[in-house]
């Protein structure tokens, strides 16, 4: 009897070890150690070929060189703006899907909203380029309609970058919003209306508090994806895009200055993490619950 009990225990430990191994390997070898190494890399400076010392030089140069931190702040602000715009564009369609359209219509509209996101971001950006560039469809249309005399360049503006970012982020806002609005019982809205509430007070006092977890989840994910986006700003913004991920790429791949690139990477990671943390704090939610909504 004791022998089988010991055997069963041994068996359970073996199962646990076999299940733990891939998880630990994945997280340690691909997430924890590389980021630890990246941190080390960012805190050293090269003094001679193959000779390094611990130093804050990389971070000092970030704060010392206005271009670097200007681009950083610009990226953060534009990302926040793009997140707010995405919320504004996505909320009405999420409301229509969750509350106004019925049955099949609602499901159909939802699927239709998801379809573009099954296609690669590269393809979607190509579409915007063909639409907006000087020789593209919209400038030609503007000339044709007599609105402008000459084709105008619609690419390479901040507004273009924002359009592209909002477009790319919509899905990640619509899905959590629809989820949280669907779970709002219609009778709560009817009750509020019955008690004399009108559109805006109901939105403010009933709908937004109820949908807050979905709104937070959407905003966190959209902000993070926007901040870390590379493709859309570089292609739609061209040389004027000044996006921080470009700086990272330039340091790492073009200039081969890995120490500087690592410091930039860490700053971006710090900003992204800080915003996630702030969003969670502001809405009083747990990280794991938010991630499950998206």
């Amino acid at each position: 009897m004791a022998e089988t009990a010991a055997g069963a225990l041994w068996y359970r430990r073996l199962v646990l070890a076999l299940l733990l191994a891939p998880a630990l390997l994945w997280l340690l070898a691909l997430i924890v150690l590389p980021h630890f190494d990246l941190a080390l890399l960012s805190f050293r400076a090269r003094v001679a070929p193959r000779e390094y010392v611990a130093s804050l030089a990389q971070y000092r140069s970030f704060f010392g060189e206005p271009l670097y931190w200007h681009v950083f702040v610009r990226t953060a602000l534009l990302s926040a703006f793009a997140t707010a715009l995405t919320l504004l564009v996505a909320f009405p369609i999420a409301w229509i899907i969750a509350k106004l359209a019925r049955g099949r219509m609602s499901a159909l509209l939802f699927v239709v909203c998801l379809i573009p996101f099954w296609v690669s971001e590269t393809v979607r950006t190509l579409g915007w380029m063909i639409l907006l560039r000087e020789s593209g469809v919209l400038p030609a249309l503007l000339v044709h309609l007599g609105i402008t005399a000459q084709p105008v360049e619609l690419l390479y503006h901040d507004a273009t970058i924002l359009v592209g970012l909002v477009y790319t982020s919509l899905l990640f806002m619509v899905v959590p919003l629809v989820g949280s609005l669907e779970s709002l019982d219609n009778s709560l809205i009817e009750a509020a209306y019955d008690l004399g509430g009108k559109g805006w007070p109901i939105l403010r006092t009933i709908v937004i508090p109820h949908a807050a977890p979905g709104i937070t989840a959407g905003c966190i994910v959209v902000f993070m994806l926007t901040l870390g986006n590379y493709l859309t700003p570089t292609l739609l913004g061209g040389k004027n895009s000044l996006w921080f991920t470009e700086q990272i790429y330039a340091q790492f791949i073009t200039r081969f200055n890995w120490e500087q690139g690592a410091a930039f990477g860490f700053l971006l990671l710090a900003l992204s993490t800080a915003m996630v943390w702030l969003g969670l704090k502001a809405s009083g939610q747990r990280f794991s619950d938010v991630m499950r909504r998206v």
Partner: protein, 371 residues
């Protein structure tokens, strides 16, 4: 709290109709509810009572007919402009607000100042027995307390009419019994006109001054609980309100208010009728369990009752509601008869033979709905 006929009706529904595609959910329903009274709409699920209630509230537009509340026609008046508030089926308390904020919500929408609405919300909570609960979260309350908050939230706006959409449906049996009493007391304390819908006949009977029994989108009968119980107007009402024995048969003869019919197997019964029958017509007869008398011998039956006999199939002991199930000797129909409170027949067992009878004046029949 009176149902004085002199008072103008608070609610006047005339020939209201609502169709959903080919289905007629509410079919030319008319009734009026007197000021300060408790009116119930009773019917099985799918009978159209929820649609009717939501039309009164303004959430659904009727296809025809009119609704007037407090003497004012409600056509094209949106729900939030009607002097009506609603207690929703699952109460719809706002989980994102405290109890006090829930009660003060409507006042805030009317632009009542913060201090004033807090005072009024707290006063209202005190009236419904929830003094000091204003700062609680809604999920900290018991089922009964939640219901009182839902009612307080509406009554604080002093509506002409309070609509209640089966608010007791989600509660367990024991709480439901308790809340029935509480609801009745609240209504008489406030004197507000209540319109209540339910599928539970006992709720309707206990609570209401008047009840409309609804089936297939129509009112089958409109009356006091006593009228529904003792003088049902249709066979649906007789079967739906209170326990009843239903016997089908064919008419043999009619003698004024009494009809004699054949219930099968040579069993001939005489019951009260409220219509003229021809010989051979199908008939539905209803005899309440408590209208029947048990006896050991035919001689023990009250005079004037013809003696019937049957074999006991089961005893269902339920305190004051105990019944005996028996199979009538000729027709082999199963009948349910109330046991007298004296305990005189407590020793009956399955298989025993017993006599029974009933007063034809307390039984009633309607034209048959069967083939």
């Amino acid at each position: 709290m009176s149902t004085g006929a002199a008072a103008a009706p608070d609610l006047e529904v005339s020939a209201v109709t609502k169709r959903f595609a080919a289905h007629v959910a509410v079919n030319e329903v008319s009734f009026s509810v007197a000021r300060g009274s408790f009116f119930s709409i009773l019917g099985p699920s799918g009978c159209g009572k929820t649609t009717l209630l939501r039309m009164i509230a303004g959430f659904i537009q009727p296809d025809g007919g009119g609704i007037a509340i407090g003497g004012r026609d409600m056509r094209n008046v949106p729900p939030n402009k009607r002097p009506v508030n609603m207690v929703f089926q699952h109460l719809a308390l706002f989980p994102m607000m405290s109890v006090g904020e829930n009660v003060a919500f409507g006042l805030a929408r009317r632009g009542v100042g913060r201090a004033e609405r807090t005072r009024r919300a707290e006063a209202m909570l005190e009236r419904v027995g929830l003094a000091g609960a204003a700062s609680k979260r809604t999920d900290e309350l018991s089922g009964g307390q939640r219901q009182r908050v839902a009612i307080a939230r509406s009554l604080v706006l002093e509506p002409t009419l309070l609509l209640l959409d089966e608010p007791l449906g989600a509660l367990d049996l024991k709480l439901r019994e308790h809340m029935k009493v509480e609801l009745k007391q609240l209504q008489s304390a406030f004197g507000t006109t209540f319109v209540y819908i339910t599928h539970d006949q006992s709720e309707a009977l206990v609570l209401s001054d008047r009840v409309g029994v609804m089936n297939h989108g129509r009112f089958e009968q409109l009356g006091s609980p006593q009228e529904l119980y003792y003088s049902p107007a249709t066979s649906f009402v007789a079967g739906f309100v209170g326990a009843n024995n239903r016997l089908t048969g064919t008419v043999l003869a009619q003698d004024g208010a009494l009809v004699e019919f054949d219930a099968g197997g040579g069993l001939h019964l005489r019951v009260r009728a409220n219509a003229a029958f021809t010989r051979g017509a199908a008939v539905d007869a209803f005899i309440r369990p408590e209208a029947m008398t048990l006896a050991r011998t035919p001689a023990e039956l009250p005079p004037g009752q013809s003696a019937l006999s049957g074999e006991v199939t089961d005893m269902l002991f339920d305190g004051a509601n105990s019944v005996v199930l028996l199979r009538e000797a000729h027709s082999r129909r199963e009948l349910r008869i109330a046991l007298p409170q004296t305990g005189a027949f407590a020793d009956l067992r399955a298989g025993a033979r017993i006599c029974f009878g009933f007063d034809p004046g307390r039984a009633i029949c309607f034209p048959g709905t069967h083939g």
